[in-house]
Symmetry: D2
Subunit: 332 residues, 4 copies
Amino acid sequence: MTIDVAVFGAGRIGKIHAANLAKQPGVRLKYVVDVNKEAAAALAALHGAQVADVEGALGDASIGATVVCSSTDTHADLILKSAAQKKHVFCEKPVDLTLERARACADAVAKAGVVCMIGFQRRFDPTFAALKARVEAGEIGDPEMLVITSRDPGAPPVEYIKHSGGIFKDMLIHDFDIFRWMLDDEADTLHATGSCLTDPAIGQAGDVDSTAVTIRTKRGRLCQINTTRRAAYGYDQRFELLGSQGMLQAGNVRPTEVTAYSKTAVSNDVPEAFFLERYRAAYALEIAHFFDAVQEGKPVRTTVADGLKALELAEAATRSWREGTIIKLGAA
Amino acid sequence: MTIDVAVFGAGRIGKIHAANLAKQPGVRLKYVVDVNKEAAAALAALHGAQVADVEGALGDASIGATVVCSSTDTHADLILKSAAQKKHVFCEKPVDLTLERARACADAVAKAGVVCMIGFQRRFDPTFAALKARVEAGEIGDPEMLVITSRDPGAPPVEYIKHSGGIFKDMLIHDFDIFRWMLDDEADTLHATGSCLTDPAIGQAGDVDSTAVTIRTKRGRLCQINTTRRAAYGYDQRFELLGSQGMLQAGNVRPTEVTAYSKTAVSNDVPEAFFLERYRAAYALEIAHFFDAVQEGKPVRTTVADGLKALELAEAATRSWREGTIIKLGAA
Amino acid sequence: MTIDVAVFGAGRIGKIHAANLAKQPGVRLKYVVDVNKEAAAALAALHGAQVADVEGALGDASIGATVVCSSTDTHADLILKSAAQKKHVFCEKPVDLTLERARACADAVAKAGVVCMIGFQRRFDPTFAALKARVEAGEIGDPEMLVITSRDPGAPPVEYIKHSGGIFKDMLIHDFDIFRWMLDDEADTLHATGSCLTDPAIGQAGDVDSTAVTIRTKRGRLCQINTTRRAAYGYDQRFELLGSQGMLQAGNVRPTEVTAYSKTAVSNDVPEAFFLERYRAAYALEIAHFFDAVQEGKPVRTTVADGLKALELAEAATRSWREGTIIKLGAA
Amino acid sequence: MTIDVAVFGAGRIGKIHAANLAKQPGVRLKYVVDVNKEAAAALAALHGAQVADVEGALGDASIGATVVCSSTDTHADLILKSAAQKKHVFCEKPVDLTLERARACADAVAKAGVVCMIGFQRRFDPTFAALKARVEAGEIGDPEMLVITSRDPGAPPVEYIKHSGGIFKDMLIHDFDIFRWMLDDEADTLHATGSCLTDPAIGQAGDVDSTAVTIRTKRGRLCQINTTRRAAYGYDQRFELLGSQGMLQAGNVRPTEVTAYSKTAVSNDVPEAFFLERYRAAYALEIAHFFDAVQEGKPVRTTVADGLKALELAEAATRSWREGTIIKLGAA
């Protein structure tokens, strides 16, 4: 049985998801929806799909699933509408910028009995997933400390930042998800601090560009996250997990394995440029995972509940930073 | 304009080329030909193509190009027949096990005016290609010494080895091509020696499994190649090029970037398992390159002349090893 | 002119300092003082020195300098007495477990006009010192974030821990010094948390074995320190400094550069076993630095003021952890 | 019992050996001998020794051992004279530039019953020695192939080269020793070729600066050695040994473990600058080994027989290169 799919959003990430789902056996891209009609038409043409509007796409009974990669402020609405029409839905992170609406989404998909997967693609990165599997196999015993380094090569436009919900919801939400996934544990207390070090305009927009977060979990494990919106040398996505029996590190991925010896240095490539390159394989694997889950009735790895939990941590971090306090998280 | 293609050979490498050409814009897989009808039918079905025999496929005027990945003994014949029908042809290495027939192929494609590309996929490996580009950009000055490490994880069945033309034609032909490509120079003298160290059956089949080749080029540069059919730790594909201004190394590619710290070691993944994994990207890029060349009338990176040159070196190496002599190569 | 020296403490670190100062031109080990007379005698014999008691050693007018490596509770007393006798003094960290007595030491050495150097040997580690020099040369622009990983291979006996002043004064004092040195900045706020994860006896002794500290500096820079008393894989001493123009990492040092390829992994040595091995060069360089400073009247790199500042941070961290608060540090 | 020692040669390597033996318990530097009287006096003064001439030093019955680090043409003579006086002798490589005189030395020390150790210091390098120990422990099974990379950062003066015996005796003699030591096997056939690529003056002096040597051992193992007198990026001393169960690599040693991330590269230090830095530990360990052997009557790791064997290979390589032939080595 073929699943017909509507993609909402024909931007950068929409194009990637469209190309990936087009390769999935038994999946067909039927509609592309975007307020930018030209972008929608171009993406639709590339995959032999049609342009539609939200109502048209969701009103078509043949549509089995939606893929939401439109702007953040439309996520919750499209999840609710998809659920209402009994469509399975894959939605980019975050579910919403407010916990209230995100919870409404969680309730709606539960009630509708549809699959709702949130796009925490990092969980599908081959390096991260291999590390997780090795932790689960007991290689390092019981986890004790997690250190996450998460640095972007450059900040988005300040206009974007103003409506992004701030660095904790916009950037660290991925790291909060990695934290929960890797430790299989929940936050008990959280401390966040930050600075505006790379561009004063970010500070004027009410945000920071450099952050340091510490989480102590319910089981007493420790996690530190360091983040910047602008690392001079590029995109840096690493973490390391210390356990009672050893330690595992997830390193960056390089475009090539060339090593150069000059008079002054022995050097390698800088890491993959940004998330589209670094997580190319992860994007393909998460879409495959979503449609496998839908087709075979299996649970998804990143649920709307995970989206909610990450958002709670982002809210706590924002509050900790703004108020200069240590936040006690609610019961798990 | 769409190019219709016939693929000869539905085995391991035929499947890869078929999948890659199917993704190429303006290229359509029309026929799959294989003496194993079931394999042909399965591959054809996967890509919406038809099963045909050699004559049927080549007799169809709509076919613009052939992709030859059948057994080595059929290569020359299929090149000649493709050329006779004015089809462009992509052919797996080697052109043939004899120089005479390989030269006949070179003549035929030249006369027919068709593109004939030989599948030296390593030239399309992102690491190798980046290294070559940096050499051409002058990063290490004038090349002086090249060291190639080329080790397979395990030998093919002895029955295959018996008809493979021997390790120099079967395995090192790739390394001879890399040598010519990286140094942009031709061999002046060649010395080869070898041993049967991993499996006596290989020696009984008249071959060796471990070889050491040294080439001195017309410009006096030096190249050493070390090869084994069975490296205990897996597939090992590295080389390093010393130049007057520095050195560049091409390293192995790892499945993941996980590093593990245990009580006794800090360890990483072993390299990608074998050529299908290691050169996955290279296979895709070489097929794209072939069809780009055909569609846009551009020269190909690995011509039938390259195939001939590599074969000459393989013959010289075989003779050097058998006779215990240093071989003087003909004028360039 | 030769400087005669008295060493207080003939234990593990006393032996190292004695051996290093014996190699220093113009420096002679005259006395070894230890409550353990046998240890004192053995060390004295090794270097042709004599055993003395504190009064004897300090009462000898020919003694120009003392090296204090006795137990922590004797440090302040020996600094005060050395200063009173106008002896220059090299003292192992920490100056004292209380800020009050440490300040008294600072006052005394200032008044006496003697050199007092504190044994923060990490500042003399070739890797750390090279990194610092590159930062000062402007290689990474303005520092933004510092991440320190500082893990011991195993905890000292619980009896020792009980009198150690706790993990922040005993272990992290080195990291607080590195923080100040690398950022050339002072703490504005500090948050520390910790857990007892490796041995319940440590918790019963009122301490933790795993800590996570975050410091925000007066200039808004961020620093995170993660520490454990027991890393399963050994001694781990790394840090990385992100700046506006790049990033520098200080890695671990390995006993050998052997790389092993097996069927399952490519592996290297674990880092040097513990501080005596890891900082072997640093210990030699710091003693040479001290005597150079004394002989040539130059300032020392790690003053008693540095010892005070590190102790202040250790006290703040202890308080932050105990009280669950964020500590605001005093004016710089 | 203290051994009094005479050092012949107060140059670069003489200074190193003198300093190392001065640290050896029970060993005293009594005489320094050098045709350059000032150099002899300076080195003697540094260690509280006296200047002597050859006869004076060897005529002193209290002298138990000599350390020969004078120019190559004096080695054999000083070994013979030392043996005649029943002195144990440590001699820098090579024993001599001619096999005949080297054999005379071997005979003389055997007859005299003195220890004669040749300065193949690489066997004492911690990385190389650790690798050897792991091979002997069976970690990689039976050795199959050895690849040695041995590159100097720059050539000595052409005047030196003219009297050096050529690159094979001057430089590769170390590599030939490593080959024999690592494989625990002897050469059956040898092929050498070379070029003058870095400085025409070297060619005019009748030598080459770049070489490629292949050895097939009596047991059929393969070894390739690549060498240059001038690697643009510095001193490069690596080898790798493939065995039936795995592979071990010996890598270069770096001055520091700093890693730098810039916009264009992730880079590390170039290797230690030259042999004095790279083999600092090895020089100390070989001198300790020699005096341990002398004091405890144990065999030395690098005998005059090893010196002879390496010289035989160097002669064979020179002949192979000059005559363009493959050399068959004599029975082991």
